[in-house]
Symmetry: D2
Subunit: 152 residues, 4 copies
């Protein structure tokens, strides 16, 4: 069994929140959200983060980079149901390595934690070759938002 162990990312982070209403067809035969859809909710969180801080796919693409996922994980604590309005908290954890590590929380309206997870994205060039040092544009990005970084 091939398995990479991913260390916890640094605790400090940049954060954005967004809301997602559970769609009818996202609920399975057990009348709870099918587990795979949480990666969609994470994606929604990551995209909201990108819109707020200027780190959308096209922003990255314009700089000559692609940021494919190399890892995703999710722990499930309680189910969500049709019609629930969920809050997705997306946090980018700046780190020295050439990658983007986000952590996520999915919370119910009463703030109960339903799921939490992590995604890791690598930087590659447009041909898919891995980039081993942080791109200059990303260093500039981190500098621009340094005063927004939360130190828990």
């Amino acid at each position: 069994m091939k398995r990479r162990r991913w260390a916890d990312p640094p605790s400090r982070y940049l954060e954005e929140q967004t809301q997602v209403r559970v769609r009818f067809q996202e609920v399975d035969g057990l009348r709870i959200v099918w587990h795979g859809h949480y990666l969609t909710y994470f994606e929604e969180g990551r995209l909201a983060f990108g819109r707020r801080f200027g780190l959308e796919y096209r922003d990255v693409l314009e700089q000559g980079y692609v940021i494919p996922l190399v890892h995703a994980e999710c722990d499930y604590y309680a189910p969500a149901r049709h019609g629930d309005v969920l809050t997705v908290v997306a946090r980018l954890h700046p780190e020295a390595a050439a990658r983007l590590t986000f952590s996520f929380e999915v919370r119910a309206e009463d703030q109960r934690l339903l799921a939490a997870g992590i995604t890791v994205q690598a930087f590659t060039d447009p041909d898919g070759a891995l980039v081993l040092t942080r791109p200059a544009f990303y260093e500039a990005f981190l500098e621009r938002w340094a005063d927004q970084v939360v130190e828990p």
Copy 2:
């Protein structure tokens, strides 16, 4: 950041394989399979496993149990594309704890490893209360298939 660290499951396993053809709409704007769909492929593997060994959702339900996912993770090694016929290897790793841990591999036609991951399912009663010891039916299940277990 809330994160549970899941130990590697025992190395021995029961295995089933199935094939999945990548659907047109599973490919994203980068013309590769969107990462979230691998949880669908894992599900296909788990269901094929259930059909072969008699551990489908309804088999479990008839015994008075539900087996919700409490964890999923995936490492991505190389992209799949529209029309690819993927092999999904699903392995159940029998363990002393009251849970089902599967590991998965998704392989290309030339056997290259595209993705690998793990899912963990808990046993609950129909009302969602966690069951802390292995149900008798699952003990019987493991006994029935003991001679099929692979010791790597």
Copy 3:
């Protein structure tokens, strides 16, 4: 080839609008929204309608009815792309027959029409038997909102 021809519904309607942001994975390899996702957008429109006017699945279910789709159709005029914020216009067209006919428009931010369609839902009892006359609760529903009906 079996095909039912559905007459145009009456032109008068009750209307609700909602907005949908195109998700990353809803875009296909041609970088446009895959055509099947418009049924999701229609569903979002229908649900928003249900929330506004009190005609959600559970409202109907509490009355002892299920409203399965018996027909859906969509004409596509122009593509939507990742990140687009679409307006979904959902209109219920009250009619004498025992069914719910909705028409939909999906519009871009500049109001261009991207897609338009219709769904038809039957009333059945919980066992799936077709109900041939309008249920009393639905007659009351139409009466309650009669002054909101738009006559074009």
Copy 4:
């Protein structure tokens, strides 16, 4: 309400069949396949047709054409459930106009008709401009398979 009325396509056809197993997450809270997924099953049928007769997206693309959907419709007769193995019948109906009209049937294992529908695709150039006459490659395609056309 904008609505195009699509005439019945010619009755003769080229046919291919394929099988689809209903996925766990394709079933909704009513434990039946969510109606929108039938467009996925139609797509699976269309792709199987393309593989058999040499009319895949890339075949068309290599000839300099794109074939976006301009219409889809589906009538629902009976529900499918998790684990069902469905047969999708896809029929291309050759016609004089510059478009591809497919009809579909989705059948249960006992051959009961669950759903039937139509999709219409236009020919466009790579920039999306509509092509008004049948491309030469498509005329050649129809000639090549003329003896396989079924006249009901």
